[in-house]
């Protein structure tokens, strides 16, 4: 069994890398809007299907579409965010509850739309990278790395670095961080919370959709895939501490490792249960995440 361990660890890191991109954008959105987007998995699913159909119609490699899909879904997010903003800044009822309920409703609606349009079938997106793989032999143990997963990890690192640059080195990022710290004070300092919120939500939807295409190449796509990724996004964000971006990569890698270790050593269908058990224990012991820095 031990000879499988390097393979399990490699798979876990490669998979966890992709979860970083989902969770980092998701966590950022929570930090700025203070509302959880229950539709995160549905954005991933929509992105995956867009990639699938674009590939079918044009025959081009899905990786070439990534920028197109980002721009498209950035636009979708940019248009939808003001509605959420309106709900959150309402004076009737409890705006925070209403915001949560609103995204929950969106998620149900999106799932219904996808099931209507795409049916219950599951598919995968063919890519030039899908077939290839290469072997590494550290210490005499063979580890197989599928090319597409390695490209996926490269994508995740690139997205993370770009977001890091955007947040830490630009004026826009300064505004985003200010909003996350204190909305009213940021507003007084001249941060346009509406527009910044729309940009952040657009970026988040765009990244989620792009990641969907990648997941479609690596694993599979289906109208019901959203639920699973929503759970993963929640898991990573809660484990990292809600709104604490620096914890996200570690939590995402941990999720990838848990998944791959269960795939290889235990019953794969118990993976989700293990994920829930870990989540429960973390919440019980350290409710603010692994690093105790969540809000």
């Amino acid at each position: 069994m031990m000879e499988l361990l390097p393979q399990a660890l490699t798979d876990g890191i490669l998979l966890g890398g992709i979860y970083i991109t989902i969770a980092i954008a998701f966590s950022l959105t929570y930090g700025v809007m203070h509302v959880i987007d229950f539709a995160v998995g549905e954005w991933i699913m929509f992105g995956a299907f867009t990639g699938y159909y674009l590939n079918k119609w044009t025959g081009l490699d899905p990786f070439l579409f990534l920028p197109v899909i980002f721009v498209l879904y950035f636009g979708v997010g940019y248009v939808i965010q003001p509605v959420i903003h309106r709900v959150l800044s309402g004076t009737k009822g409890n705006p925070f509850l209403m915001g949560l309920v609103f995204t929950f409703g969106l998620a149900i609606m999106f799932r219904g739309l996808a099931l209507t349009a795409f049916g219950f079938y599951s598919n995968s997106i063919p890519s030039a990278f899908s077939e290839g793989s290469f072997n590494l032999e550290p210490l005499g143990l063979t580890v197989t790395i599928p090319t597409v997963r390695l490209v996926g990890l490269g994508y995740a690192v690139a997205i993370t670095l770009i977001l890091h640059y955007l947040l830490k080195k630009t004026n826009f990022g300064l505004g985003v961080r200010a909003l996350a710290q204190h909305k009213d004070a940021a507003g007084l300092m001249g941060v346009n919370s509406k527009r910044t919120g729309s940009y952040v939500y657009g970026i988040y939807v765009g990244i989620s959709a792009m990641t969907g295409v990648l997941l479609g190449c690596i694993l599979s796509i289906g109208a019901q895939m959203g639920n699973e990724y929503t759970i993963f996004a929640f898991f990573v964000v809660v484990l990292a501490g809600m709104g604490y971006l620096a914890g996200v990569p570690w939590a995402a890698l941990l999720l990838g490792l848990v998944q791959s270790i269960f795939m290889i050593y235990f019953n794969p269908s118990h993976t989700l249960l293990a994920v829930f058990a870990i989540l429960y224990i973390i919440l019980l012991i350290s409710p603010r995440g692994l690093f105790g820095k969540g809000v």
Binding site: T91, V101, F104, M109, T116, S269, P287, V295
Partner: protein, 333 residues
């Protein structure tokens, strides 16, 4: 006004009690039984969501736990129905306790995530262990007596309604919950223990739900993870309460009646477009949130209050608004 409301309730109650004696259509009775069950599920959901302000997106889990507990106890432990039924409620209550301990100390966002994840986890559990029958579900001993189930459901929901009415609208307990909803820090400052109260309200919400699930299992005689533990139960509860009006008992009941009537008609005439139902549910939530954040009942009551007492119109409307305006930035931090 209050007496008139009580009279109307008494008339509806009496009519529902007499109905099976004069009407023998099994289909109608079946629809009514399920409709009454949904009223019970919706008002139980509202205890934690509407009164306490903590959204439980996994209400269906407690329903399913109740159903499965009764199924397992009756079929594998050979317990009689009456002995198993309370245990279904207890099982749901204990699950709420276990799920509530880590999450109710935290902000509402965690609770919403955790309950939703819990419902997924329970479904996974039912699919993967043996004693639930896995994906095949389980069949209960059939007891085919529509009248019996109609009365059982009616009386159970009646008792739930009366208990919740007393606890939430008459006893101080309801006021304490509302205080937490409006301003948790403020409630703490007044000497309340929010975590304990939230825990109590969560259990108070889960327990009747489990009992209703138990009755449902015995009535339908077949339970499986996708129908009993699927997300549709939770989703419908959310729609009913948000559309009907959170934070009251009549709002969710009204929402339950309307949504259930819609569902029944939809299933009867448009059963080829079942997925459309999901889209409508989602859209209805989004539309209710944007246009009637107080729900149908809340909007109706406010309009009526405004029409009869115009001089007091501004005051009751602005008070909760001011409170939530104070609370909003705090939640933002």
């Amino acid at each position: 006004m209050k007496n008139r409301g009580a009279t109307i309730l008494a008339i509806i109650g009496a009519a529902l009690l007499i109905l099976p004696l004069v009407m023998h259509d099994t289909f109608v009775l079946r629809v009514l039984t399920e409709g009454i069950m949904w009223i019970g599920l919706a008002i139980a959901f509202d205890v934690i969501a509407g009164y306490t302000g903590y959204l439980n997106f996994g209400h269906g889990a407690f329903f399913g736990i109740g159903a499965y507990t009764i199924g397992i106890l009756m079929m594998q432990a050979n317990l009689p129905f009456w002995a198993a039924l309370p245990l279904g409620g207890v099982a749901a209550g204990i699950t709420a306790l276990i799920a509530g301990i880590p999450t109710l100390r935290l902000k509402g966002a965690y609770f919403a995530i955790a309950t939703w994840a819990l419902s997924r986890a329970i479904q996974q559990l039912a699919l993967n262990v043996e004693f639930t029958g896995g994906p095949d579900g389980m069949r209960l001993e059939a007891f085919l007596n529509p009248q019996f189930f109609y009365y059982l459901m009616l009386i159970t929901v009646g008792v739930i309604f009366a208990t919740l009415w007393y606890l939430l609208e008459r006893a101080p307990f309801g006021l304490k919950l509302k205080a937490i909803r409006e301003d948790e820090e403020g409630a703490k400052a007044l000497g309340l223990n929010p975590t304990k109260l939230k825990m109590q309200s969560f259990i108070l919400s889960a327990l009747p739900t489990g009992i209703l699930g138990g009755i449902y299992a015995y009535w339908i005689t077949f339970i499986d993870p996708s129908s009993t533990l699927g997300d549709l139960v939770s989703d419908q509860a959310v729609v009913m309460v948000v559309f009907g009006g959170m934070g009251t008992l009549f709002g969710p009941a009204l929402g339950a009646i309307l949504i259930f009537a819609f569902k029944t008609l939809f299933w009867a005439y448009l059963s080829d477009f079942q997925l459309l139902y999901l889209i409508i549910l989602g859209a209805l939530i989004a539309i209710s949130v944007i246009f009637i954040p107080n729900g149908l009942w809340g909007t109706m009551v406010k309009r009526k209050a405004g029409a009869t007492r115009p001089e007091q119109k501004a005051e009751p409307a602005s008070e909760p608004a001011a409170l939530s305006a104070v609370a909003a930035p705090e939640e933002g931090n």
